[in-house]
């Protein structure tokens, strides 16, 4: 069977969808398996006593605080769902900010012309 050229470029829309799908897969399936050890800063903080100076986060009681969805008992699913929520919200907020920034600059330009 002759396949269409393998070198055909992945379309832009397909690229974005594939990238988002990869982010969601990493967040849902892989993040629950991530190392639970303290990260570099936390490790240093523990070792040097800095950790004692830390104070509670004001939003520690939030519904997704600590990358765990309240009310979901299964740890893997709880973390995975938190990851999916984070990916979706981050995509929406970052995309939204960029849209606003782009529009602001365009309207700014239009206004600048008549003056």
């Amino acid at each position: 069977m002759k396949r269409p050229s393998r070198r055909t470029r992945l379309g832009f829309g397909a690229f974005v969808v594939a990238g988002l799908a990869l982010a969601l897969v990493l967040a849902f399936f892989v993040s629950p398996s991530a190392s639970g050890d303290p990260d570099g800063l936390n490790k240093v903080a523990n070792d040097t006593g800095l950790a004692d100076t830390g104070t509670d986060h004001a939003l520690d009681d939030g519904p997704t605080a600590g990358y765990e969805v309240r009310g979901v008992d299964n740890d893997r699913i709880s973390t995975g769902l938190a990851g999916v929520i984070g990916v979706a919200v981050t995509f929406a907020v970052a995309g939204g900010v960029m849209l606003v920034v782009r529009r602001a600059r365009r309207t700014g330009r239009v206004r600048a012309v008549p003056k």
Binding site: D39, L41, V44, T48, L50, T53, L59, T90, G95
Partner: protein
């Protein structure tokens, strides 16, 4: 690498918030200038991807993990200004939704993980690129090296902030040595992952890589690429 509340005193944190706001404002202005239709969803994708990979802590030494900061990666993919905004959004979502990174430390975290890694990382990327032969693999290598160094820059920035307003009793030199030591290891991981991701995007859609704009222009007129897609 997310600084919690309390590590750095209020005055220093507030000053850092002002600096971060200024840097973010400048990045937003610059982002408005360079954003075209396609870079809007692309920026959203980069931010979402950075969020996802920041969850993937990998072990670096006994009892220690690290995760990608993603600033250098974002800068190479969508440019330093748009990248800085992307990582700032990630940090904001983490602090507000997931209680990761103190609210009072948000300015510090934006400086360390969003501004320095993107702007500093991109500067290093440019310099390293000039030292290497032209081509996609050099781009991926330069991205990896920039990413690795950006993690150490970020660790040093924390050390400076600790020196200015740290509330702990440990000496600055102790903190500096520990931070740099651990983050050199994490930086290696960041560099490898960044190089692989940039390489993968270059293999798929090199035209979408901000740091490869000139390369894509070089490739376009040559016969090799159009010939392959010609019927």
């Amino acid at each position: 690498m997310h600084i919690p509340d309390g590590f750095i005193d209020g005055t220093t944190s507030a000053g850092a918030a002002a600096v971060a706001a200024g840097g973010l404002g400048a990045s937003l202005r610059r982002a408005g200038e360079v954003l075209d239709e396609r870079r809007v969803p692309l920026a959203g994708l980069v931010a979402a991807f950075v969020f996802a990979v920041q969850m993937l802590n990998f072990p670096v030494a006994s009892g220690t993990s690290g995760h990608l900061l993603g600033g250098a990666l974002a800068a190479v993919l969508v440019g330093p200004a748009v990248g800085a905004v992307c990582v700032s959004v990630v940090l904001g979502v983490q602090a507000l939704l997931f209680a990761d990174g103190g609210l009072s430390a948000l300015g510090l975290n934006v400086i360390n993980m969003a501004l320095l890694t993107t702007l500093g990382g991109y500067a290093i990327f440019i310099v390293v690129r000039r030292l290497l032969p032209r081509g996609p693999s050099s781009l991926a290598l330069a991205s990896g090296i920039a990413a690795a160094v950006s993690v150490v820059i970020s660790a040093l920035a924390f050390t400076v902030e600790y020196a200015v307003g740290g509330t702990g009793t440990a000496s600055v030199s102790t903190v500096a040595a520990a931070m740099v030591g651990v983050h050199v290891l994490i930086g290696v991981g960041e560099g490898v992952i960044t190089g692989l991701v940039v390489g993968a995007v270059l293999a798929t859609r090199p035209d979408l890589v901000w740091g490869a704009r000139d390369l894509a222009l070089d490739l376009a007129p040559t016969a090799s690429v159009p010939e392959r897609v010609a019927p």
